[in-house]
């Protein structure tokens, strides 16, 4: 790229020497149409199809019953567990990721650690699904390394105390494995953007470290943190493979419910399963709306 720019340094100054790019509208269409056609076919059409199916009963008549059925306790609890695990793993992973990113940016840890951490985060954030489930079975399963270690060191049997890899906490700990590396990757650039001058200015004006974070750094970082949290939430909320191979389907997550519904009509009602799927989209849409509201609020706060 640089080589080409050097070959034609004059082009940077202006377009006077170049022929104007042709302006036939169909040519524009020709370039971007395949992409939008693809999106229409493989994103829009499937979503629209589920949406329309969710408003139909068994005979194809319009109905709202499917959405009313979502409020059955068994289905509501599936959404609720999914949302709770997503929130917990996003908060836990977000906190750990933020603290580690803090360490390698403003925290003053050695430079080499930074490169290593970023590389490892790139790998770990992509290490998910079936193999991650296997890894955590070997770690926190009934005979897992940590389970046995805690048993021998402290004499505490985690499984007798109610912990299980198939439970809320087991799944949350597993999800955190891909959550916090993602947080590191997202938040490190934002932390890099904190200017040293701001901290010095705050200190000169007599601010304590806590006051600096509370009133300068955190407000500046809030939009990035919120954006990252939304990403982490969605990451966990849509997770299916990890949960399925970890629990064998024994946990009542919304993704697992939908999965068993696709395999065979377990609920005896296809319309309801379309509504289940649309419900996930609605939850994501709500989360993103909350994100935009919070962001606007935080930015307004920033201006004052």
């Amino acid at each position: 790229m640089r080589r080409l720019n050097n070959l034609f340094p004059f082009t940077k100054q202006g377009a006077h020497s170049a022929r104007p790019v042709s302006s036939i509208p169909w040519r524009d269409a020709l370039w971007v149409l395949p992409f939008f056609l693809f999106i229409f076919l493989f994103v829009f059409l499937p979503s629209a199809s589920l949406l329309s199916g969710s408003f139909q009963d068994k005979w194809g008549n319009f109905t709202l019953q499917n959405y009313l059925d979502l409020f059955k306790p068994s289905i509501l609890s599936a959404y609720w567990i999914s949302i709770r695990i997503s929130l917990a793993s996003a908060l836990g992973g977000g906190l750990l990721g933020f603290m580690m990113a803090y360490g390698i940016t403003v925290g003053g840890l050695p430079r080499r650690l930074r490169t290593a951490l970023l590389t490892f985060s790139g790998v770990a954030s992509n290490f998910a699904g079936v193999p991650l489930a296997f890894a955590f079975m070997a770690t926190l399963g009934r005979t897992g390394l940590i389970t046995v270690l805690i048993q021998t060191l402290f004499g505490i049997n985690l499984y007798e105390r109610g912990f299980s890899i198939y439970s809320f906490w087991g799944l949350t700990f597993t999800y955190i494995y891909f959550q916090f590396p993602l947080m590191i990757l997202i938040i490190t650039p934002a932390l890099d953007g904190l200017r040293r001058e701001w901290r010095e200015a705050a200190q000169i004006l007599g601010a304590s470290s806590w006051e600096y974070w509370r009133r300068v750094a955190l407000p500046v970082l809030t939009p990035s943190i919120l954006g990252a949290m939304i990403l982490l939430f969605g990451n966990a909320f849509g997770a299916y493979a990890t949960a399925l191979s970890l629990t064998g389907g024994f946990i009542n997550l919304i993704t697992i419910l939908i999965g068993s519904q696709i395999k065979g009509d377990v609920l005896q009602n296809l319309g309801l399963s379309y509504a289940l799927a649309m419900g996930m989209v609605v939850v994501m849409a709500i989360m993103i709306s909350i994100y935009y509201l919070l962001r606007r609020y935080s930015e307004r706060w920033l201006k004052i």
Binding site: L4, N5, K12, A15, A18, R19, V21, D28, W31, V32, P34, F35, L45, P46, L50, L96, M99, M100, G107, L109, L113, L117, T119, G122, A124, S125, N126, F127, G129, V130, P131, L132, F134, A135, A138, T139, G144, L145, I146, Y175, I176, F178, P181, L182, P189, S209, L231, G234, F237, G238, A239, Y240, A241, L244, I258, I262, K263, V281, M284, A285
Partner: protein, 268 residues
């Protein structure tokens, strides 16, 4: 002041060590476990068994092939679009950015549900044939990879002066195929390689979509099946899979010379 600084450093180290333990302990546990296939002694027996399994290689090759086709098709679809929007239709940028984030709102399990509903029946009947099913799988993977494919390409385009390059090439008499293939593509090499390996890392072990469309033909469902029957082999598969992801990310680092690229949300 100095005490504060030292306290801060201690604080940083505390989280750093905690985080590294989180990273490494599961890997260590899995590795140790994978060595215990033979009774009372450590061995690589589980790995041997995995590598001797013809299904391992078959599913691996299948997923690799699908991954490569996904990369190729995805780039063919996205590069011209992103290029043209940068060059001529900047107003559409908001639209494509929004569209490329959509897969994030529609989780993989919902996507595959919708795809099956639309394409298994009239008028497409894609799932009735081998080719049709695989094409649908590729399409689904392009959708899945869209957020970071598009972003990687668009950032790559932002780093070069698209307009100047295009006009220079035009003034020298180049046509569109030449401009795209010989001017734009070489300049996007790093961006495309990053996008390609990220896609590969996602597609190789992908389970959700593969299990519903092609079943145990793909690597992800194969791993899952092994996990149900064979304990030690599954840990060795986890280690192999981790090494694979590591290799893909390593390639990105190698080609982009250390520029850290934010990874996208994958399909978990």
């Amino acid at each position: 002041m100095k005490r504060n600084l030292r306290l801060g450093l201690l604080w940083s180290w505390f989280w750093m060590i905690l985080g590294w333990l989180y990273f490494l302990l599961p890997l260590l546990a899995t590795f140790l476990f994978s060595l215990r296939a033979k009774k009372d002694t450590l061995s690589f027996l589980a790995y041997e068994r995995v590598f001797k399994d013809p299904n391992f290689w078959k599913t691996f090759a299948f997923s690799l092939e699908i991954g490569l086709i996904t990369i190729l098709a995805g780039l063919v679809l996205i590069v011209p679009t992103a290029y043209w929007i940068r060059l001529r239709l900047p107003r559409l940028r908001m639209v494509t950015e929004f569209v490329s984030m959509l897969p994030f709102v529609v989780p993989a399990i919902v996507l595959v549900f919708g795809l099956i509903r639309v394409f298994s029946g009239a008028p497409f009947y894609l799932t009735n044939t081998y080719l049709g099913t695989n094409a649908l799988l590729v399409a689904a993977y392009i959708v899945l990879a869209l957020p970071y494919l598009y972003r990687a390409i668009d950032t790559g385009l932002a780093a070069i002066d698209v307009r100047a390059l295009t006009e220079a090439a035009q003034s020298l008499g180049a046509g569109w195929p030449v401009i795209l293939l010989r001017i734009i593509l070489p300049n996007l090499r790093v961006a495309m390689i990053s996008a390609a390996f990220l896609t590969l890392a996602t597609v190789m072990g992908e389970f959700t979509i593969a299990s519903f469309l092609v079943g145990i033909k793909a690597f992800g469902p194969y791993m899952s099946l092994v996990g149900q029957n064979k304990t030690y082999e599954s840990s060795s598969l986890a280690i192999i899979s981790f090494a694979l992801t590591w290799a893909f990310m390593g390639f990105i680092q190698l080609f982009s010379r250390g520029r850290a690229e934010a990874a996208p949300p994958g399909a978990h």
